[in-house]
Amino acid sequence: MFRLVGRSFLAFVLSPEPPLADWIDELDAWIERSKGFFDSRPVMIDFSRIELEKPDVAGLLAQLQTRGLRIIGVEGVDPAWLGPGLGPLPTGGGSARVVEITDGKPSEDEDDPEPSEPEPTALVLDFPVRSGQSIIFPNGDVTVTGSVASGAEIIAGGSIHIYGALRGRAIAGSDGNAQARIFCSSFEAELMAIGGLYKTADAIEPELRGHAVQAWLDGEILMMTPQN
């Protein structure tokens, strides 16, 4: 028997925007501020927000690769333009599934598959998230009853709720959901991001430190306010 295991994981999508030079400068600044952020994270490039000729696409991809980005796919351009090793993106995406392929006949119940379990849309963690741990949950909200340590990170497709202190990174709305919010009982975060817009600790009003805080997106601005 031959086993194929399906695996889903979170990849970051970069969408270059015109003017391209400014966009690259901004990317460099982001890499400078968050060294190592892209080290172990796959990245996909979405060209749908910018019009480029074939050589420009190749040039941009080469430039991104020299910055250490691990590009696993490209979308928004003619697939024929891409070199070997870079394919167009598969559409959709799903949960991990084990597909068993036998060399016999397909089993009979194949036409009538069991209705699959509904995917959980919330993740509740009853333990503190330790430094170096990374909780990635693209399907919905993440709730942590303890604290999130300095050097730990939570990446959620939906909102993030932390009933202890947030000392690490919280990245909500990781798939671009601008409605996502972040709540924490004691704000001491290193970085907050919603829908791809982020603020580092340096850029956040120091008065908020130690307070219960809510963060949300107002257009293109990450807003934060103390909770009472």
Partner: protein, 271 residues
């Protein structure tokens, strides 16, 4: 059944080796049969702190590679008869520790002793992971400063995922031992307070060891502080911590700032 305790921290220089020696000696002094094991292959120190550096013939790696029997490599302490040391090799590196070999020796040690105390190397690499691998209990040594606390937090995450117990979905007992604590500096906010550390790590406290010259003196003498100067405040703190490790409930005494007349007159801090 013997209890395997790992003394770990992530960060270097916080007092893992001192703690291993002091806790091991304190447990042995109370009548338990104890073996302290140095996992810091290539940078061994436990033999020095235990005053056994001139008696090492065979080490951990020799036993792993089958060049010596475990009984030949164990060094019995001259002061406390129930205390033994398994030294690390200074000439090899951590790749010489194999997962199978470590597992075999830990099983043998469990048969021979009541407590096996593993002195972990700093870092989160192979040596540290092998030291924690078979532990039932972890003593996480932390200094009251933010870098040490964050590294300890990282180690706690590894203890919850990379140990044999964690892989069997069992909980490993975890305790914080706060070393080099200076009440005066904590009061002046020059270092983290005990509450701050416990709040960040959210783990039970095994003991608070005061910053003290007695600890340094003991290391230089090659004697665990609980043996060389049992009346000193760090020795008493370690002895209490060892009793808590065996399951006794003992009231926590927090070392207070002591000022002598000279200190009071000049507003300085007494040594």
């Amino acid at each position: 059944m013997a209890k395997v305790v790992v003394v770990t921290s992530g960060k270097g220089g916080v007092g893992k080796t001192t703690t291993t020696a002091a806790l091991g000696a304190a447990l042995a002094q109370s009548g338990q049969n104890v073996c302290v094991v140095d996992f810091d292959v290539g940078l061994r120190n436990l033999d020095l702190v235990m005053g056994a550096e001139r008696r090492v013939v065979y080490d951990f790696i020799n036993v792993i590679q089958g060049n010596a029997k475990l009984s030949q490599a164990l060094i019995r302490d001259k002061r406390v008869g129930t205390l033994s040391l398994l030294a690390a090799s200074q000439t090899r590196d951590k790749d010489a520790l194999t997962e199978k070999g470590v597992a075999r020796i830990m099983t043998e040690l469990r048969d021979k002793f009541d407590y096996v105390i593993c002195d972990s190397p700093a870092g989160i690499e192979r040596g540290a992971l092998l030291a924690m691998r078979h532990a039932d209990t972890a003593v996480i040594v932390t200094n009251p400063e933010i870098s040490s606390v964050r590294d300890s937090d990282r180690i706690v995450g590894l203890l919850d995922s990379k140990t044999e117990k964690a892989e069997k979905d069992e909980q490993i007992d975890k305790h914080v031992l706060l070393a080099r604590y200076d009440a005066g500096r904590a009061a002046r906010s020059e270092m983290l307070g005990i509450d701050d550390v416990l709040e960040i790590l959210s783990l039970p406290l095994l003991g608070v060891i005061p910053e003290s010259q007695d600890v340094l003196r003991a290391s230089n003498l090659g004697s665990p502080v609980t043996v060389s100067n049992p009346a000193s405040s760090p020795a008493r703190a370690y002895a209490d911590a060892a009793r808590r490790l065996t399951g006794e409930t003992i009231t926590m005494t927090i070392p207070a700032e002591r000022r002598n007349l000279f200190g009071l007159l000049f507003g300085g801090r007494a040594a």
